[in-house]
């Protein structure tokens, strides 16, 4: 049963803030090991949707299912161990802790059994330090790293939780094209090696979307505009209208 169910299923999810409908009846399915992108201009409701999936917000209507189980109202800290990891738009590693400790904290608390000891977590952390290539910064406080290295620390911390789904909030904002290409290649590699599905949220770096995602959902004013393969989505007339505005008639 669990195998047949999609990894994540949103069913008519709606979230209002006062009169503003931030997310408007969004339904979507994400499968195991898929690379999925949520695209949309500023204010489209992407971050709100992320916060609903990771549990920061509880939707006003609709349901969130993870591996067939209804997790709509589960508190944030209980969602992570099920296998939902996330990174933030502005990387938020624990600045006072070292890179290694940051990753170890993910391993200690982010797994379902919760039985990872401090020493085991440190060993797991070393493996992910190698995976993201931060060996030379291993014992430095994460607060002093460059933004890209902070991002890598955060990704490693999320991966140490052994997630089945990794939510990446604007993972490539502010990066130059070379860094973007490297990050895309890196994400594809961890998808293969760790078997994790990734939902990347992207505002307007289409280079990243095209390189990374197999499937794309385009959001506009809280609602789902299209949900299809990347190639189709980006040539869809409505999507072009959303990004560039309608041509004068």
């Amino acid at each position: 049963m669990t195998d047949l169910a999609p990894l994540l299923r949103l069913e008519n999810v709606t979230k209002r803030f006062g009169g503003l409908v931030a997310v408007d009846e969004v339904s979507v399915e994400i499968h195991h090991g898929e690379l999925f992108a949520i695209v949309g201009p500023n204010g489209a409701g992407k971050t709100t949707l992320f916060n609903i999936i990771s549990g920061v917000f509880i939707p006003d209507e609709g349901h969130v299912y993870f591996e067939g189980e209804d997790i709509t109202r589960l508190p944030v800290y209980k969602k992570a161990p099920l296998g939902i990891g996330r990174t933030f738009q502005i990387p938020r590693p624990f600045g006072g802790a070292t890179v290694r400790e940051n990753i170890a904290i993910g391993a200690m608390f982010g797994t379902l059994s919760g039985k990872v000891s401090v020493d085991e977590a440190m060993e797991i952390a070393d493996r992910y330090v190698d995976l993201v290539g931060l060996q030379e910064h291993r014992d430095k406080p994460a607060g002093g790293l460059t933004p890209v290295d902070k991002r890598l620390t955060e990704i490693a911390r999320a991966l140490a939780m052994k997630p089945k789904l990794l939510l990446m909030d604007e993972a490539m904002a502010g990066m130059n094209p070379r860094d973007i290409d490297e990050m895309v290649a890196f994400l594809k590699r961890i998808k293969e090696e760790e078997g994790v599905a990734i939902i990347a949220m992207v505002e307007h770096i289409m280079r990243a979307v095209v390189g990374l995602a197999e499937r794309v959902m385009v959001m506009h004013q809280g609602a789902k505009l299209v949900d299809t393969t990347t190639k189709e989505a980006l040539s869809h007339p409505e999507v072009i209208d959303v990004y560039l505005g309608k041509a004068p008639e």
């Binding site: 944030v76 992570a80 624990f94 600045g95 797994t111 000891s117 401090v118 020493d119 939780m161």
Partner: protein, 333 residues
């Protein structure tokens, strides 16, 4: 092989400091009162650091736990003084009562106040401290505003000689032991999952939740532990030493402020910080009171401001940075 060799070596300097205080007081008996004051400040900082330092939450009502612990010992001794042959049993029961009452108060306060963050938490805790004091006075529980004077009870239980020794010597020794125990517990927490969870929540509470940390649980663990040590401090440094308790003294917010200064001065969240902060604060207060009697606080305030601006991570926080990567790293935590 353990992944982290020598993870408890950091106890050496901190325990040496407590032992040093004791030895100095024994060698220089006329300095014992100074040692007692220093031990009180170190212990207060060590206990408070378990909460303030490890969670980053500022509890402005912290002294309430010291006050309640004082009442725990005072009530025990005054109620049990009639029991034949209770002797040192009364002391044990008093300490247990102090620890238990502070723990209960911390659970009650924590259940409500720990839902708040930042300034809101700080303000709520001031309210708890003041509220609790006026509750004791207004509801006339525990002898209300008259307080409890139990020097007679202490003599009745232990006899005159022992009672004097308890107040003038053993109370201070207990304070040193409690401070050292708080340091040991601090390091055990730091080296366990609790410490990592607290680091995460101190740095970024929302990010901590997202990686699966049940932050409320760890905040409450730190809060209760810190409160229990505060209660034991009250039971010894105040109850046993002064043999009376009086609400305005036991809930004097001034001590909370001193505790915050000690922790910040030494380095919040460090193991050695509270001892360094306690010694720096106690010694300079003592010294300024001698050379500039009456003006010590006026001089002290700007000095503290300068230190806190210049070393935001505290003395030990600064030292820790300096020794990173050297052999001393394991000792200064």
């Amino acid at each position: 092989m353990s992944a982290r060799p020598g993870k408890y070596l950091a106890l050496i300097p901190v325990l040496a400091a407590y032992l040093g205080m004791f030895v100095f007081g024994r060698v220089q008996p006329d300095m014992w009162q100074l040692v007692a004051m220093l031990a009180f400040y170190c212990c207060l900082g060590q206990a408070f650091n378990l909460f303030l330092g490890m969670t980053g939450y500022v509890d402005f009502g912290y002294v309430a736990f010291v006050g309640v612990g004082t009442y725990g010992m005072a009530l025990t001794l005054s109620r049990l003084s009639g029991v034949e042959g209770i002797g040192f049993g009364a002391l044990v029961i008093g300490l247990l009562a102090a620890a238990g009452m502070s723990a209960m108060l911390s659970i009650a306060v924590g259940a409500v106040a720990l839902r708040l963050r930042g300034a809101y938490f700080a303000i709520a805790t001031i309210g708890v401290n003041e509220g609790f004091r006026y509750f004791i006075e207004g509801a006339r529980i525990w002898n209300g505003s008259e307080g409890i004077i139990f020097s007679k009870d202490l003599r009745a239980i232990f006899g005159r000689e022992t009672a004097i020794a308890l107040s003038t010597f053993w109370a201070d020794v207990f304070v040193i032991v409690i401070g050292a125990s708080a340091a040991v517990v601090t390091l055990i927490y730091m080296r366990s999952k609790i410490g990592f969870a607290l680091t995460a929540l101190r740095e970024d509470e929302d990010a901590a939740k997202v990686i699966g940390i049940f932050v409320t649980k760890y905040k409450i663990i730190a809060f209760i532990t810190s409160a229990v040590f505060a209660g034991l401090l009250g039971a010894t440094a105040w109850a046993l030493k002064l043999t009376y308790v009086y609400p305005p003294d036991a809930f004097e917010i001034h001590y909370t402020v001193e505790a915050i200064i000690i922790v910040m001065l030494g380095g919040a969240g460090t193991l050695l910080g509270p001892v360094v902060g306690g010694l720096l604060y106690g010694l300079s207060k003592y010294w300024l009171a001698i050379i500039l009697p009456g003006f010590q606080l006026l001089i002290f305030a700007p000095i503290i401001l300068v230190i806190i601006v210049a070393f935001p991570e505290g003395t030990v926080g600064y030292l820790k940075k300096k020794v990173r990567g050297t052999a001393l790293e394991r000792y200064i935590v």
